[in-house]
């Protein structure tokens, strides 16, 4: 084979490769989540996703961070919600992303327990430590949180507050898994899961004046979570009467109104 023929083959091969790279671009990953909100600061963008609109209580969130429009694949992401109540600020319990590597779609998984509803006053602070540039930026993403009555905040001893969160679910007739979460805080920013409380749960139907049988009191499953079972024997308005007794013998009551369909 002559030098010319080799050159020609190489030219053809290059042109084929070149055509392939221009006609079949790698598509950006598709995110099958609901974009709640996003914000940009110092060239870093934080996008907050969820599966449904945000509401009081437990919300699994998915955060994507981008630098100049390119999703970061190696960053340390920390989420710190902030409620601006005018005269004071506070945060709420958070489950932080546990890895600096996002999933294949560029999302960091985390969760936030919003302790009250607000259309305008919650901001999810996303602190990004870009490992490539060793840069740390905090982007404040405003979010809207609707009310659902799933959170109760009770005052404990001294400055301690306890936050009881009912994990909302599609309640149906029959036996339902019921999950509660218990956190405590003394300053409104640092929240500690409580795993050593004793929970008793009694489902009742106030309009009918009866309860049900077969219910199982919630027991701890770690991370502040407690799981029990409630037997909703009919559709309609039910009430979950929750009694939480902490290790220091403090006892708190909370009622949750739920609708069974």
């Amino acid at each position: 084979m002559s030098s010319f023929q080799i050159f020609l083959l190489a030219l053809v091969a290059l042109s084929v490769v070149g055509c392939s790279s221009t006609t079949d671009p790698v598509p950006p990953p598709t995110i099958d989540k609901l974009l709640i909100s996003s914000a940009t600061d110092a060239g870093y963008t934080a996008e907050v996703y969820a599966t449904v609109a945000l509401a009081e209580g437990y919300n699994p969130l998915f955060v994507r961070v981008l630098h100049n429009g390119v999703a970061l694949s190696d960053a340390h992401v920390t989420v710190v919600p902030d409620m601006d109540m005018g005269t004071m600020h506070h945060s709420c319990p958070v489950v932080q992303p546990n890895d600096s590597i996002p999933d294949s779609t560029g999302l960091y998984n985390c969760a936030v327990f919003f302790t009250m509803p607000s259309a305008t006053d919650w901001k999810v602070g996303v602190t990004i430590h870009d490992h490539r540039t060793d840069t740390t930026v905090t982007v404040h993403v405003p979010v809207s949180v609707s009310a659902n009555g799933n959170v109760r905040i009770v005052q404990g001893a001294a400055t301690t507050k306890y936050i009881f969160t009912l994990l909302s679910d599609g309640w149906k007739v029959g036996m339902n898994d019921v999950k509660f979460n218990v956190y405590r805080t003394t300053d409104g920013y640092d929240h500690t899961p409580v795993d050593d409380a004793s929970l008793k749960m009694v489902p009742t139907m106030p309009s009918m004046g009866h309860g049900s049988m077969g219910n199982v009191h919630p027991s701890s499953t770690d991370g502040g979570w407690y799981t029990g079972r409630a037997n909703f024997t009919m559709t309609g308005d039910w009430q979950l009467d929750l009694t939480v007794t902490t290790m220091d013998a403090q006892s708190f009551n909370a009622k949750y109104q739920i609708a069974v369909h």
Partner: protein, 668 residues
């Protein structure tokens, strides 16, 4: 006690007579045929005096007690202290299950008296043909079209003063040598009734339509095929003793039967049947004040809907020789039942609710019964019988399974169970016309689908809520019946006594302490241990003069829950009747007096009830048949306008006061 009583209804035809003779043979051990008693030559043939024409009255004549919830409508049959699943009630052997969980539509409600050929009542646990029972079997045999009969039509119109009860019956039948048809329609309707104290009982009226069509085809020299269809519709049936009324109850019952005479010794019958019952009830007609102030679930309307569907197969074969009769019955059924209740609060800020009372229960049962009767000598006949059943039970509604599973964690909701019953009886002729008999039976019955799976069923008399229990054990009973009878040309007498002990007696057992919560007491079905039942029955008929007959009967039942030392509930006290029939074929008169002692032996824990005072009631009737085709009947029931209620009347609902009745029946 008349262990088996066959009451043949009015105007029986030749085919029926032949059947009666056959029946006589097969139950030679202890049958008394009330109608056929030549001493009581009433051409009314035990037709109830009331022109309402309800089978309820007929069942009373058959020795049954009716648990009353409405105005002479759809009484729940009880026999010698047995009720519900302890008895087996069938129509031509077919099982028809009530769709209403509050027992407002027993299967007997779907049979009209004019469509009946016979009512077979067995109270000694020997009749196991169509289902397990502890000593109570009631089978309504429907009239069949008759071959080789001229076209005949009957119209029967009657009315009563009390409740303006009116009844229309139209009947047409006829047959060629190869095919016969029969169709009958009955309309019964009533307004609110009046009790003996002059009070009008609100919401006690009803309207009921019943259509029965039957056909018979001779398909061979020894084979015929018959088909029957019953369509029954009841609307706006008031249940003043309960907290709801029936808005609509409709039943469709169909069967096809192939009968074959294989030889002079062997006959067979194969029946395929299906039926469905739809029942809806509500409290929409109740005054608002009642809704607001009632003890159970106030301030809300609560319509309920129930449905049942049954598919069945019955294969009967009989071998009859000179000294032996062998009968084998294979009986398979499949039941599907669902019932739901809605609750709609008067307070519109409260969400409406829906509760499932029976979540698509499915019960499949296959049973086989065998009876062998042998005449050992001219004086002694013995009979042995047995039945074995295998049954699977489940619930298909997953949400309902979840609810019930929560109440009984770890308990298996699906059941495969069985039951075995056996009996032996002997009939001995001491002298001409004087007989003695005895029956020893070991009986077993499986819990009903309501007892297993019923959820939040309300008992208005005891004001309790009951919940089924999926692991209920069978009820088992030992019973001994003994009796004697005498008959000659002018006198018939029979006296009998019986005792029955039931183990694992199923009842609603208090399980949840609601004394401090304000909730209605809730009970779960369970066993209350052993219960005993015993009783006696005596009756006599005498021909005083060729045109004057007298009949008297007295019956007593005693029942107690032995383990928990509490009288059994809904046990009728001692009851007696005296009837005098005078006249002959053209003009007849009758006077009947029914009386009951007080019932002070009442249940205080099994199913709390109150005592009932004694009462007596008299009825009179005159019937005129100027020509064979025309009959005019006038009567007065409860002549003295006595105010009373039977002990088995739920919430002491009073019986009807005086009522004048007039009826005309014409045949064309």
């Amino acid at each position: 006690m008349n262990v088996v009583v066959t009451i043949t209804t009015l105007l029986l035809f030749s085919a029926t007579v032949a059947r009666s003779q056959d029946t006589l043979r097969t139950i030679v051990v202890r049958e008394v045929v009330v109608e056929a008693d030549p001493l009581l030559k009433s051409w009314r043939l035990n037709r109830p005096l009331s022109s309402s024409g309800s089978v309820d009255d007929l069942m009373r004549l058959g020795g049954l007690t009716l648990i009353q919830r409405a105005n002479g409508f759809a009484g729940e049959a009880s026999m010698l202290g047995l009720r519900g699943g302890q008895m087996n009630t069938s129509i031509d052997g077919m099982k028809i299950h009530a769709a209403c969980v509050d027992k407002m539509d027993p299967s007997t409600a779907y049979v009209e008296i004019d469509n009946l050929s016979t009512l077979d009542v067995s109270s000694d646990a020997t009749d196991l043909r169509y289902g397990q029972n502890l000593g109570g079997s009631v089978n309504f045999t429907l009239k069949q079209p008759a071959l080789n009969t001229p076209v005949r039509s009957v119209i029967d119109i009657s009315g009563e003063s009390n409740a303006s009860m009116r009844r229309l019956r139209a009947d047409v039948s006829g047959g060629t040598p190869d095919i016969a048809l029969r169709a009958g329609y009955t309309l019964r309707s009533a307004d609110d009734m009046r009790s003996g104290d002059g009070t009008t009982i609100a919401l006690s009226g009803f309207t009921k339509h019943n259509l029965q069509i039957g056909g018979l085809w001779k398909v061979g020299d020894h084979d015929n095929v018959s088909a029957v269809l019953i369509a029954d519709l009841a609307t706006d049936v008031g249940y003043p003793a309960l907290i709801m009324d029936t808005r609509k109850a409709q039943a469709l019952i169909g069967a096809v039967t192939w009968r074959s005479v294989w030889s002079s010794f062997v006959t067979t019958s194969t029946k395929v049947y299906a039926n469905s019952v739809d029942h809806s009830m509500d409290d929409y007609d109740r005054p608002l004040s009642e809704i607001q102030n009632r003890a159970f679930m106030p301030n809300m309307y609560m319509p309920m809907v129930g449905t049942t569907a049954v598919y069945g197969l019955i294969v009967e074969s009989a071998y009859a020789a000179s000294e032996d009769i062998l009968k084998v019955v294979i009986d398979g059924t499949y039941l599907a039942a669902t019932a739901t209740m809605s609750m709609m609060p008067l307070d519109t800020t409260v969400s409406s609710m829906q509760l499932t009372n029976i979540g698509d229960a499915r019960v499949s049962t296959l049973g086989t019964s065998i009876s062998w009767e042998r005449m050992l000598s001219d004086d002694l006949t013995v009979r042995v019988g047995t039945r074995v059943d295998l049954s699977s039970r489940t619930i298909e509604d997953n949400q309902f399974r979840s609810v019930l599973g929560g109440y009984f964690p770890g308990m298996e909701l699906d059941r495969l169970t069985g039951a075995l019953s056996a009996n032996v009886s002997a009939y001995y002729t001491i002298a001409e016309g004087l007989n003695v008999w005895s029956v020893l039976a070991r009986s077993e019955r499986m819990p009903t689908h309501l007892e297993l799976y019923g959820f939040w069923l309300y008992d208005p008399q005891a004001n309790i809520v009951t919940i089924g229990r999926p692991d209920l054990s069978n009820e088992q009973a030992w019973s001994l019946d003994i009796g004697t009878s005498y008959r000659d040309e002018d006198l018939s007498l029979s006296i009998s006594g019986w005792i029955r002990t039931i183990n694992n007696y199923i009842a609603a057992v208090p399980t949840i302490d609601t004394s401090t919560t304000g909730e209605p007491p809730t009970r779960t079905m369970g066993s209350i241990g052993t219960a005993d039942l015993m009783g006696f029955d005596a009756r006599a008929t005498v021909r005083v003069l060729p045109w004057w007959s007298m009949q008297a009967s007295v019956r007593g039942i005693w029942g107690v829950g032995v383990t928990i030392d509490d009288p059994l509930p809904l046990i009728a006290p001692v009851q007696a009747s005296i009837r005098a029939v005078v006249g002959e074929r053209v003009l007849q008169g009758e006077l009947a007096v029914f009386a009951s002692t007080a019932q002070n032996r009442i249940s205080r824990s099994i199913l709390p009830e109150d005592a009932t005072a004694s009462w007596a009631r008299a009825d009179v009737l005159i019937a005129w048949r100027p020509i064979a085709e025309l009959r005019i009947q006038a009567s007065c029931t409860n002549v003295l306008d006595t105010f009373y209620h039977e002990h088995t009347s739920i919430n002491n609902m009073p019986s009807r006061g005086r009522s004048f009745n007039l009826g005309v029946r014409a045949e064309l």
